[in-house]
Amino acid sequence: MDFSILIGGAAGQGLDTSAQILELILKRCGYNVFTYRDYMSRVRGGHNFTQIRFSDKDISSFTEKVDIVLALNEETILLHKDRLKEGGTIICDKEIAHEDGVLPLPFKKILSKIKNQKVYNTIGLGVILKYFNIPIDIGEEAVNKLFKEKASYDNVLALKEGYSLIDGKYNLKLKEDKKIIINGNKALALGAIAAGCKFYCGYPMTPSTSILSYFSSKSNEMGIMVDQVEDEVAALNMALGASYAGVRAMTGSSGGGFALMVEALSFAGIVEIPVVIVDAQRPGPATGLSTRTEQGDLRFVIHAGHGEFPRMVMALRSPEDAFYQTARAFNIADKYQIPVIILTDLYLADYTNTIDPFDFSRIKIERHISDGKDIDGEYKRYEITDSGISPRLIPGKVDGQVVLADSHEHDEYGHITEDPDIRTEMATKRMKKIDLLKDEIQEPWLIGEEKPEILIVCWGSTYGAVKEAVSKLIEEDYSIGALVFGDIWPLPTRRLMELAKTAERIVDIEQNLTGQLDSLIREETPYKSDYKILKFDGRPFSGEEIYRRLKKEVLKR
């Protein structure tokens, strides 16, 4: 079974909280849940909606059509009535029920009965619960988790009132709830905290702000310094200072904020201080669409910064990936003393999905910090070694040794130099670290057929939608598979080279106009895509859209 519920209204109508309650209820019933949020760049008014999909099978995308629309205002009905499946229904107050297919209910009457205008949405939730014959106590529990005291009392009443308004339509079997439900940003932050990140700073910028907020809310409890900086130029510079002094540090922003970090990124490269930086992408250029999604910064982050220096770029593919990869990012940053850039986007940042609880015992913290005992004489911060990685001391930790970090070209001790030979040696040393890094980057995930005729290449958050499309096409007997890149710079090429040999067609699927992954593939391998399925209207791909476009544009059937 597979249902979707859309709740729509204006900003300020409590949409978010209602969605949280509903998804929690469904999760507690043991279903897999996928919630996608669509909101405008404003604080009041406009139109926002949330789609909650639930199923007994694994789901990783939203659907285009929904079974129920809970309309908190009339606009919602007008905007979404065409999205109803056959047999679907719109739930709303009698007063705005002017269209066909609408189930008009006496919301206003109930509100006066309870004497609380704010519980409007919860009445609707009650109706939905009954629609699926979900036991009311699960609903009550969820309401109590999100509301306290009087609000909770009133909302439970509203829930029950709504519950009594209709007859149930479906009878769903309950299962055991073994999962957690979380969004990409919180998973990312949790991964960082698990990895021992003790410093996070940032400037509020959608859609990265919730990382900053989450860190701030855990600051006291977990002993993590969180600073809201005056501007993004300060952000990365400050994180580098904290990291220089020995704590794992991270900063995050969206494309425009990352753009202000570019000079400091180059600095991170020459000063060889580990740091993790998150770019939570949204459509650009410039201010662009603040509350929408895109994958437009790939080439930008790979080449950002003047001069040449090693960096790693990883794209997060799902909330689970966000947790484990972010934790891994710190180990890599510490090991190679490079900046690690994490790419996510608004879609992944905000959508919630039920997943297995994270296994914290899998997280290993590897600091690669020297205790100074094997250092003979004056410490050389930038000692030339075979690997290119110089032993790293933390300032103040070893009596008699000082640590000099420098943004000029420098000698092994960190002092300014103008010598051309030292320059060449140092530049070579830095770039050598990439060679070592290339040995440990992870190949892209492969989903679908092992040796597909049609090979999709994609990266980051399109994972969920591609997965669903590929599954469906495999059921229809197509020979299709997809490589989903997580580690994306240096670009892992082994699997791609192998599969490209036997694939008939390569299809690049991404959320930008210029096919940036394809340009990388052309640069780094002898291959290129034969087709590109691109989307850059600020909305995410659904599994259905990818399925449809593959059939129409590639499979031509």
Partner: protein
């Protein structure tokens, strides 16, 4: 305990005020008996900002205008380190102007020594944020057409708790100022006037010498209005000394978990400590 600060050969011009400032810094640190590995000197870019290369301490020579943000990061990561920011007037008040303002808002415990020679040195003589209006420079051929920043007055307005001015030509006094600034708990600004022998033919050593005077012994540095008056006094006479001083809570002390406990850098890291955070998502 070895508090001797080794010096290296600088690339400064002969006669540059930086030499004197370095001497004062060395004396201040040695007199305070702070060991080199306990100090971090953070700088941006410019001749003044080369200081971490010419005196042996932990050094963080970063980007132009961006000395303050890393200094804040360093102090928060390890509150036991003495953090000193040293850069020129262009770096501190121009390119880094925004960070200057916000460092004061935080009141982070760092000492900020600004080598103020009222000109851009390393880039060859353009006007700086503190160059006088009307002064001809290598770029502003018919005179600077904007008014200079008044850093001490700005700091006072922002509520800084330690505002001082020194002169590279008066080393004993400068040593005293530096020691007080380093000891002071909070953001301490010392604007150090110095000549740039090559590019600034107006604010020469003699020019400063003829104008600077010590604040009198009975000067009350807790009086803000008085301090503001002194801060704006510049053209004919320039007071040097601690203009204003007030004890205030530091940024890092406002965080209980930083205040009470070992420095962040020394805390134990264990992923299992974070497992309970998953509850919220269950």
């Amino acid at each position: 305990m070895n508090c001797e600060y080794k010096l290296y050969e600088p690339s400064w011009c002969p006669g540059c005020g930086n030499y004197m400032i370095r001497t004062a810094l060395k004396m201040a640190l040695e007199e305070l008996k702070i060991e080199p590995h306990e100090v971090v000197l953070v700088s941006g870019i410019g001749q003044a900002a080369k200081m971490p290369h010419y005196i042996k301490v932990n050094g963080f020579n970063g980007l132009h205008g961006r000395a303050i943000p890393p200094a804040i990061g360093i102090k928060l990561a390890n509150k036991d380190l003495k953090v000193i920011v040293e850069s020129g007037d262009g770096d501190s008040y121009g390119e880094g102007g925004n960070h200057f303002i916000h460092a004061i808002r935080r009141n982070i415990d760092i000492a900020h020594f600004v080598h103020d020679n009222q000109i851009y040195g390393l880039t060859k003589g353009q006007g700086s944020p503190t160059t006088a209006m009307g002064q001809k420079t290598t770029l502003q051929f018919d005179g600077v057409k904007v008014e200079p920043i008044k850093p001490l007055a700005l700091a006072l307005t922002m509520g800084a708790g330690f505002v001082a001015r020194g002169f590279s030509g008066d080393i004993p006094h400068l040593v005293y100022l530096m020691k007080e600034a380093i000891k002071y708990k909070g953001y301490a600004l010392v604007d150090i006037l110095q000549p740039c022998v090559v590019w600034n033919k107006v604010n020469t050593f003699a020019w400063y010498k003829n104008r600077v005077y010590h604040l009198p012994d009975d000067y009350d540095y807790t009086n803000k209005e008085e301090a503001m008056k002194k801060a704006l006094e510049f053209d004919e006479r320039i007071p040097i000394g601690i203009l204003y001083r007030e004890e205030k809570e530091t940024y890092e002390d406002r965080f209980d978990f930083i205040k009470n406990g070992p420095p962040l850098v020394d805390r134990q890291l264990n992923p299992m400590d974070a497992e309970r955070l998953m509850e919220e998502f269950k």
